[in-house]
């Protein structure tokens, strides 16, 4: 017994602390890995969120907190006609640009998802706008849509048409900023869609082709269903991003003529950085957060259903 118990007792006297120490060490090690991420989240996500909540309960004057105003800044959101019209305009903007970018980007990906001469160079050129600063593209857009002797209007006039008041007419100015957004972000949809298309199993498509399925049938019955999770994800990312657009508006129109191109993100930016009304800006930011979160939840639910359906099907 003693021979058998000795190790146990040794184990109980020496091994247990060793195990505890090792466990503590393991715990510490775990914190070394998780710690930076937690600090990051606390500092750069949670703290700004909480600070913004606090800010949203104050009125400001000359850059200083003036007084506690309770929920006034949130109440004002509902009474602010300009903000409401900006939100409606933003929803139209997001809907149009995201739909066009999705359709155009996916079609281009289909086009470039084949072996052609010079295809890799073309693909690289295709994605270049994605890497440009949005503000630079905005300025470029302003130049392109310049009404007197601008390249686009000169081309239209050369073809016998009349120049379009791209930036001075409220409707056309809205179209112009959407075109620049589409120009910049279609390559994103293209890039991710192309990656998705190239990862699709070819045997299914080939089998369908052998069975006599037409190109359209293969697209709608095989490619699109298989690509659906990726496309929903792109839709999600682009929708979130499009709601926050500021740079293009700043560089092209500053929201004009009148308020014709004033989008929600620009409104928030201006409230904070031009009017120093940080309280209202924080409340406006939270409203946008809520709207985007609702959209994200809806879209994410849809994506999850697709994945679960996919897993169940397997």
């Amino acid at each position: 017994m003693s021979e058998t118990t000795a190790p146990d007792s040794i184990g109980s006297t020496l091994g247990a602390p060793n195990t505890a120490r090792a466990s503590r060490k393991r715990d510490r090690t775990r914190w070394y890995f998780i710690g930076p991420a937690i600090i990051w989240i606390l500092l750069f996500t949670l703290f700004p969120l909480l600070y913004a909540i606090r800010t949203s309960f104050y009125a400001f004057r000359s850059g200083k907190m003036l007084r506690w105003v309770g929920f006034d800044n949130y109440r004002n959101l509902w009474e602010d006609e300009a903000l409401r019209s900006d939100l409606q305009r933003t929803i139209v903007y997001v809907t149009v640009v995201v739909v066009v970018e999705m359709v155009l980007g996916f079609l281009l990906a289909l086009l470039f998802n084949r072996q052609m001469r010079g295809v890799s160079s073309l693909r690289t050129i295709m994605v270049l706008p994605l890497f440009a600063s949005p503000i630079a593209l905005g300025y470029l857009g302003k130049t392109i849509f310049y009404e007197i002797d601008g390249p686009v209007n000169r081309a239209i006039e050369a073809l016998g048409g009349n120049g379009i008041p791209w930036l001075s007419d409220p409707t056309w100015a809205f179209v112009a900023i959407m075109i620049v957004d589409i120009w910049q972000w279609t390559p994103f949809v293209f890039l991710v869609s192309l990656a998705g298309l190239q990862a699709l199993p070819q045997d299914i498509t080939e089998a369908a082709e052998v069975d006599g399925a037409s190109a359209l049938q293969r697209l709608f019955s095989i490619t699109l269903p298989l690509m659906a999770p990726i496309l929903w994800l792109i839709l999600l990312l682009r929708t979130i991003d499009a709601f926050k657009v500021v740079d293009i508006v700043i560089s092209m129109t500053l929201g004009g003529p009148g308020r014709a191109t004033e989008l929600y993100g620009f409104y928030v930016f201006r409230t904070a950085r031009r009017f120093f009304n940080y309280g209202s800006a924080a409340a406006q930011g939270y409203l946008l957060l809520v709207i985007v979160m609702i959209l994200v939840s809806l879209l994410w639910g849809r994506i999850r259903n697709l994945y679960e359906h996919d897993v169940e099907a397997r």
Partner: protein, 549 residues
């Protein structure tokens, strides 16, 4: 920075200054650098701060300060951090840096910010009491925000202190001097003087053919200069579409910068002033001094906006989206008969392609005080007030950019020294005469006799046409010396009030709302802003900034 480069490249191609091959090569270079731009934007900004705009030797401002030695170096070991908009207005600060450092032993760090980011950066700094900036160039409408926040040092005690370079506050014309002071104290050091004057093509107005044709059309002689806005509209109607542009192309009656979020509201202020301000109402334009009720829906304001909308139809449609440079370029390229804007245009009109500029109108640009009206709506009496002579109102609309010293400055006296150095007469004269640095004239020595103590030769030496310079200096002297001045708003939230006006003006100009509705909407936003800031606080600031009892 990328915008003018691309614009200029394209215009160079269109105007034949670049071949297609050169255009493609340069455009490709821009195309290649564009993606890199996004990645290296910050680094590029940092580099730009060390690269002053070169000043040609023949127009350099003379040295004023004597280099110091040993204990004579007043501020040895100190560093002055100077925040300034990254516009031409920064040129003198870079130019004076070596002289300042040699004279004081201090170091001058210049921080450039985009025009629209300068005040936010300064305000953030002072509101938090950080003291990152000792001095900053500000626009006059920021003064209320900064003084009411108790963020600035009043400089009155330093003005007569002989440790600093000497400049005279009395040399600043009264209208501009008022902008430098707030509630009886002086906060700004003299620098730039902004006001809008009326510019028109002397050659067109003195052309006998145009004179005859105008008389036949309008029924009276072509007035030179026009003295009322009614006349301006008639003249614009006459010239609009006439083939007086380069190579005989159709020109425009007028050009204005009407883009939202830029400077369009200043056009309205200048334009509407004589419709509201007059001998019996020298100050009431913005708010009632009793309760901050907005006054901008008065019949005078409404008449002014209707006139301005009418005038805006007599220029290119594109100007609804134009900022300053586009409108100025249009006038400089000889495509518009008239405009009203800041002093920069007079100086830019002298910059011909041979001198590296774009102007085709040197020697043809006449400048006069902005026209007036033959009656105004007297808000005090609540009735129209006809006048025997044109009711002409001076203005200081614009920025009148000038340096201020932060209350949190780490080296406030050294900061004041560098500002005072730039305000000395020899330097200030040079800045105003050369014009390209955005420093416009507003001091007695900028104007030739009998108006001031300056001379036209300084302008001619700096490249001006003599007649242009005479007209220009006379126009600005009259504008700033006019006993009737447009009331310049400087209370906290000024920019927000102005932007509300600016946005609704744009809606009226582009047909999105009627002029009356636009002013009503702006007034409604004025009320919201006042409520949010606190009506009593705003009223108090308003009264103090205008000196109302």
């Amino acid at each position: 920075m990328s915008q003018p480069t691309i614009h200029e490249l394209y215009r160079a191609l269109v105007s034949g200054q670049l071949s297609r091959r050169q255009f493609i090569a340069k455009a490709a270079a821009i195309g290649i650098t564009a993606p890199a731009l996004g990645f290296f934007l910050k680094a590029a900004e940092a580099r730009a701060q060390d690269e002053p705009t070169p000043v040609p030797a023949d127009v350099a401002a003379p040295a004023v300060a004597t280099p110091c030695e040993g204990d004579g170096c007043l501020f040895a070991g100190q560093t002055v951090t100077f925040l300034t908009p990254n516009e031409t207005i920064q040129v003198p600060i870079f130019e004076v840096r070596d002289e300042f450092e040699a004279a004081t032993g201090a170091k001058l760090d210049i921080v450039l910010a985009a025009m629209n980011d300068t005040l936010p950066n300064l305000l953030q700094d002072v509101a938090n009491g950080t003291g990152a900036y000792d001095a900053s160039i500000i626009g006059a409408w920021w003064l209320g925000e900064l003084v009411e926040g108790d963020y600035l040092i009043a400089i009155d005690d330093w003005l007569a202190d002989d440790r600093f370079p000497q400049w005279s506050l009395d040399s600043v014309l009264p209208a501009i001097r008022n902008l430098m002071q707030y509630d009886g104290k002086t906060y700004e050091i003299a620098y730039d003087s902004d006001g809008q004057a009326f510019y028109y093509r002397r050659d067109l107005f003195t052309d006998p053919d145009h004179q005859t044709a105008f008389k036949a059309e309008a029924g009276y002689d072509l007035p030179d200069p026009p003295t009322t806005w009614d006349q301006v509209i008639d003249i614009a109607k006459y010239f609009n579409g006439k083939p007086f542009g380069p190579d005989g192309e159709a020109g425009s009656g007028i050009t204005m910068h009407l883009a939202v979020g830029q400077q369009a509201m200043f056009h309205f202020m200048t334009f509407s002033a004589p419709f509201v301000i007059g001998p019996d109402n020298p100050q009431l334009y913005w708010f009632s001094p009793d309760d901050m009720t907005p006054l901008i829906t008065s019949p005078g304001h409404v008449q002014a906006i209707n006139y301005l909308v009418e005038l805006s139809k007599l220029g290119p449609e594109a100007m609804m989206a134009w900022g300053l440079t586009e409108s100025w370029d249009y006038f400089l390229s000889g495509k518009a008969a008239m405009t009203f804007t800041w002093g920069d245009l007079g100086a830019l009109a002298q910059e011909t392609p041979e001198r590296g500029g774009k102007s085709l109108v040197k020697g043809m640009t006449k400048t006069v005080q902005c026209p007036g009206t033959m009656s105004y709506y007297n808000i005090v009496a609540g009735a129209d007030a006809p006048t025997d002579a044109p009711n002409i109102v001076g203005n200081t609309t614009g920025g009148s950019w000038a340096p201020v010293i932060s209350k949190f400055a780490k080296s406030p006296e050294a900061a004041y020294y560098v500002c005072a150095l730039m305000a000395t007469e020899p330097k200030a004269k040079a800045y105003a005469a050369r014009g390209f640095d955005g420093v416009d004239p507003g001091r007695t020595f900028d104007f030739p006799p009998p108006d001031g103590t300056g001379n036209i030769e300084d302008y001619v030496k700096a490249g001006w046409d003599e007649q242009d310079a005479k007209d220009y200096t006379n126009a600005y002297f009259q504008t700033f010396s006019n006993p009737l001045q447009f009331p310049y708003l400087r209370i906290p939230g000024t920019f927000e009030y102005w932007l509300a006006l600016d946005t609704h003006l744009s809606e009226a100009m582009t047909g999105q709302s009627s002029p009356e509705d636009a002013l009503n909407a702006a007034a409604s936003e004025f009320e919201d802003i006042t409520e949010r800031f606190g009506r009593d606080l705003q009223l108090d600031s308003y009264k103090r900034s205008f000196g109302f009892e």
